[in-house]
Symmetry: C2
């Protein structure tokens, strides 16, 4: 029952409120929520912002989350550690920033030539993905929720055209995730720079090519000021998941309704963030084209080589880590039916509008 309900109840309001006040104060739960991203960055950061606002609005003072922007409370890549060790009760980021803890975390962000944002949500909710997510994150005393997705990304910004696999040889490129591992097999010197270092490194020539996210964020970070060739779509990130993680002890201390509020806020934030990327990527794609950026697709030969390299990377990871192998089996079981379905329904539905 909320304080304002006491105030509405007339004669009994005064004594009840007087008695209840200390209990209400006792009942307020305040949690720290660091994110890996700048909290104002469109999509990735605003996903954290909207999640926190949604929880606070629904919990009406019973649970209060305080958001900390990337680096403010803990380093950007240390959010999950902070939640695990109790420095924060809840955190926000993306699983593959913690692939060093368990390579299977890649499945909860993205897999090259893998699932779209919608397919990933389908796998998590109906294909057994969430059970694996819960189990693997449970090893670190974390309760995970998918809270958003970048939707399909760009393959990256290049200063020179890629006409064959040979053009990758010796290329210094910023690229995240398992796609970077695949690129290495084709001769790329793949490096993972944190978001804020990508633009300066690209501009100074320290790197020759860079992928960041997609039109909306690439434009916001100024990639088009350094290069005018953008390859798309990404082979490596067909949709990167964002997440909320809760310290398991903190989670279990919550009443079921507050747990439901966190769970629903994450799913609602997912809907908002996917919509945000979809809307502003389309606007930015047009603006970038209008400003002279050339969007290109990799030649078939290059795509084929990347596919071979990706299969090798996935096999190697599966051989090295049983968690990765179990996730790969579950992931591929759905992907093998999702691929022909999307080729027969979703993709032609977009293309036939002409």
């Amino acid at each position: 029952m909320k304080r304002r309900d006491f105030l509405k109840t007339g004669a009994i309001a005064a004594p009840a409120a007087a008695l209840a006040a200390p209990a209400i104060a006792q009942g307020v739960i305040e949690w720290k929520c660091p994110t890996s991203f700048p909290s104002k960055a469109p999509g990735i950061g605003t996903n954290a912002t909207t999640f926190v606002e949604r929880v606070n609005a629904m919990a009406d003072g019973r649970l209060k989350l305080k958001l900390y922007s990337g680096g403010e409370l803990v380093p950007a890549f240390a959010v999950e550690d902070a939640v695990q060790n109790g420095t924060a009760e809840i955190g926000h980021g993306t699983p593959y920033y913690n692939a060093g803890k368990n390579s299977a975390n890649h499945f909860f962000t993205t897999i090259p030539f893998g699932m779209t944002a919608t397919e990933m949500s389908a796998w998590l909710k109906f294909g057994g993905g969430q059970d694996l997510y819960d189990e693997i994150y449970g090893q670190r005393n974390l309760v995970p929720f998918n809270s958003g997705n970048s939707t399909v990304q760009a393959a990256g910004w290049f200063k020179k055209e890629i006409t064959s696999v040979e053009d990758f040889s010796g290329l210094n490129m910023r690229i995240a995730g398992l796609g970077g591992e695949a690129m290495r097999k084709l001769g790329v010197n793949a490096v993972l720079l944190p978001p804020t270092e990508i633009f300066p490194a690209f501009q100074s020539g320290a790197i020759d090519a860079a992928e960041w996210v997609g039109p909306m964020l690439d434009q916001a970070f100024g990639m088009n000021k350094v290069a005018d060739i953008c390859y798309a779509p990404a082979f490596h990130e067909p949709g990167a998941g964002l997440n909320v993680v809760v310290n398991k002890d903190a989670w279990e201390s919550l009443s079921p309704d507050l747990q439901a509020i966190i769970r629903n806020a994450a799913e609602a934030a997912e809907s908002e963030t996917i919509a945000q990327f979809e809307y502003f990527n389309a606007q930015a794609f047009k603006a970038l084209q209008d400003s002279g950026v050339m969007f290109k697709t990799f030649p078939e030969e290059v795509l084929a080589a990347l596919k071979t390299a990706v299969v090798e990377v996935l096999d190697e990871q599966a051989a090295a880590n049983p968690d990765f192998a179990r996730c790969l089996e579950s992931y591929n079981a759905y992907l093998s039916v999702a691929r022909p379905y999307s080729a027969a329904f979703s993709a032609p539905s977009m293309l036939q509008r002409g």
Copy 2:
């Protein structure tokens, strides 16, 4: 503050609980929630079920929704009327079932050759769509929320192959929405049968062809027992929105946290239902193919004729209804940038996995 918090607070619990009990009883809000669909029907009905469960779990007894299956409290197509006149406080269905009230409602379900589920969510949240939705539903004292989407549908089940536009002539077909109007221009006798009447009419030969939803629901309703040719994807329903409507007076009586709970539950249900269609459509597509169903695409000539017919229908509707014209302008402003974006990013991302 919740009852269990009183019970936890020790010494002050007994008198506070004793005083608060009548106020808690007073504070419980019980709302009827009829849906247009059978409440167990996968996707369309379970969207209503999960929405109600989510609200009830988060509101923890302060707001209790009771779900009524299609036809149980009011006829399937009369849900919005019931919410408008106060027979129910909240309801569930799809806007184009009420296109007779305002033809602009089609924009909040689907438009032929229009937006995907994700694009529709993007338009509503970021492209001005929700403002139009609120305004047009506000005319009937309703507050609307997009709560789900069928994702891309099938074009329909046919007993004979469609090789040219002439094959449409005189065909008796069940088809919903503005796609039915376009089909009429090509000689189809388009009829809109309620869900439960489609299969019997198709089986008896009263209709020659029928579209219902997509693989998951078409299989569940037995369409493949009558015909073995399914055209896909739909031209007419690239993703049909489901909705929750609240009586405006009832809405305004809610505290902001309960309003936030309804809003978030609708968005979270949207995420779940899109995932459900995506997952089980893919499984059903495979099962239907394995059982001998032939999936085909309309010939280019037929698609071109349908496009021309759709443009005519949209122009006629816009000329007849200023609300429709305003929605069409807003819808097309985003669709015109969404189309090239999805053709360059989303569709090839699905197809390059091959």
